[in-house]
Amino acid sequence: MKYVMGQYPVISKSNLAKDIYDLTVLCPEAAETAVPGQFINIKAEGFMLRRPVSIAGIDRENGTLRIIFEVRGKGTKEIARLNSGDMIDIIAPLGGRGFDTQSYETAVIIGGGIGTPPMLPVAEKFGKNAAVICGFRNASAVILQDDFNKTGAETILCTDDGSAGRKGFVTDALDDVLKLKKPDIIYACGPKPMLEKTAETASQNGIPCQVSLEERMGCGVGACLVCACKSIRDGQEIYAHVCKDGPVFNSGEVLFDD
């Protein structure tokens, strides 16, 4: 894991939905090595702890990284004040393990809510060999559907209330997709219950599954041991660390009960 720290220019900003912002940051050093599933750690002016946000786009040619985040509390509110031309203080790219997109040919890619953006670079890798299932609360929370369509993947949109796409959870759509065809791998990012259900479905169908986890972080690089997630390694229950051992884990390693 090799990362840089510094102030880098924001070169574009847009507002995708209520409280959801899309920033492009010029950081060639990080764009060079970043892989789907990794994240960056952003300094919010006036706050002690950096805010981790997933990488939603990697453009090596232009040396840029794209991030998409939702304003949740005071720190993300502060970061949302940054505009095109401002400098953003980041450590990037972080995460010892991203999505393994090399070893598989076909995939089902699942994103729930603000867990959708990190799935975009994964979808780009697979193009038409993937089915993408995105789930949101309602029509006004839907983001990135054009971007996913552009990848060539088959895209399925779900909303909890049926106000856009099909009504219901992404895991219901997953069941339907698997009835037709089994992919080599399932990738997922989103709320924990969604990941747990996805992992269960994957294991019932004997399909490998990688999930991206979230945990509150301190250092973001693997030194402070605060970002613990319970997992199984060599038959032993241990606390792995999301920033260094993840944020992407094989679903079989994760103990969701904690």
Partner: protein, 309 residues
């Protein structure tokens, strides 16, 4: 430009440090992750993650909560155990050209003894005895909150090793100077302070504590004035040297802590927002020593002239 690097050197409890700036235990792991930012050899030393007799899993997550000007942690001494440390981390650390300080803890006096005995047979430079971790159920802080407990653990570790011994004090006590004296009396070569202050953070939406452990240790800029006061009190109470920490995030804080009586200092939580903090502090102190025509930065240690009462 004159080179002021040598003005920062200090002999602390018999150990030569090239400068007084040390990443604090628990915030810096075993240093590997920070080598990405700078060579570890620029540091005065490294206080490594607290190590116990056996491997420990630590507490349930979330283990961190942000607070105004600080943070709470409830890691609970997750570590791979002393044997793993000696075999897999220490040899690597010893090649880094800086002072390596082992930070040790235990649930029982016997566990402290075992760990200290094992380290005595290694080439570790110094041992920091943590009697002040607020995040573990047994031992840890329980020893650090009474003079008897502090004396007992210091005595046992002293008997177990000839290595320079630094006892790390808890701020969660009525009179920290008394505890420092107890450690000094049992043969501690130095004391370090402060460990974290016990705190709590509640999510008002869910009415639940953010930390699964409910409570955790407060550190970061919020605790700095408390740490300065305690370092000042302790350095006036004991003859052994003092290592000061708690909320230091810039060279000005480091200078202030030294004026309060600390010969060397540690930097913890500041690393999370700024991994470069120790390096920037070293640079700042070098400039300060040069600008003020000091022969050695140690001239400012304990130099605060308090008002007469």
């Amino acid at each position: 430009m004159t080179d002021n690097t040598s003005k920062l050197s200090v002999n602390f409890a018999g150990v030569e440090f090239k400068n007084p700036v040390i990443p604090a235990s628990g915030a810096f792991g075993y240093g590997r992750e920070y080598e990405n930012f700078y060579p570890l050899s620029v540091l005065g030393g490294i206080s490594v993650k607290g190590t116990t007799g056996q491997r420990r899993n630590g507490n349930k997550p979330p283990r961190i909560a942000e607070t105004s000007g600080g943070m709470l942690n409830s890691v609970g001494l997750q570590n791979p155990g002393i044997d793993y440390f000696i075999e897999n981390e220490l040899p690597y650390l010893k090649t880094k050209g800086t002072v390596i300080i082992a930070n040790i803890a235990g649930s029982t006096a016997g566990e402290y003894r075992e760990v200290a005995e094992k380290l005595d047979k290694t080439d570790i430079d110094m041992i920091e005895v943590n009697i002040s971790c607020p995040n573990v159920k047994a031992g840890g802080a329980a020893f650090g909150i009474s003079c008897e407990g502090a004396a007992e653990i210091t005595k046992i570790c002293r008997a177990a090793t000839k290595k320079p011994l630094m006892v790390k004090l808890s701020p969660n006590v009525t009179n920290i100077a008394d505890i420092a004296r107890a450690a000094e009396a049992e043969g501690a070569d130095a004391v370090s302070l402060i460990n974290t202050l016990l705190g709590m953070k509640i999510d008002i939406k869910t009415r639940r504590p953010i930390l699964k452990n409910n409570v955790g240790g407060l550190s970061g800029p919020a605790v700095f004035p408390v740490a300065v006061r305690m370092v000042w009190q302790v350095s006036n109470a004991v003859k052994i040297p003092v290592c000061g920490m708690g909320g230091i995030s810039c060279w000005e804080d480091a200078a202030e802590m030294m004026m309060a009586g600390a010969k060397i200092i540690q930097v913890g939580a500041a690393l999370f927002s700024n991994p470069m903090a120790p390096v920037e502090i070293i640079k700042g102190l070098e400039n300060y020593a040069g600008d003020n025509n000091l022969n050695n930065l140690q001239e400012i240690v304990g130099s605060v002239k308090v008002w007469e009462q």
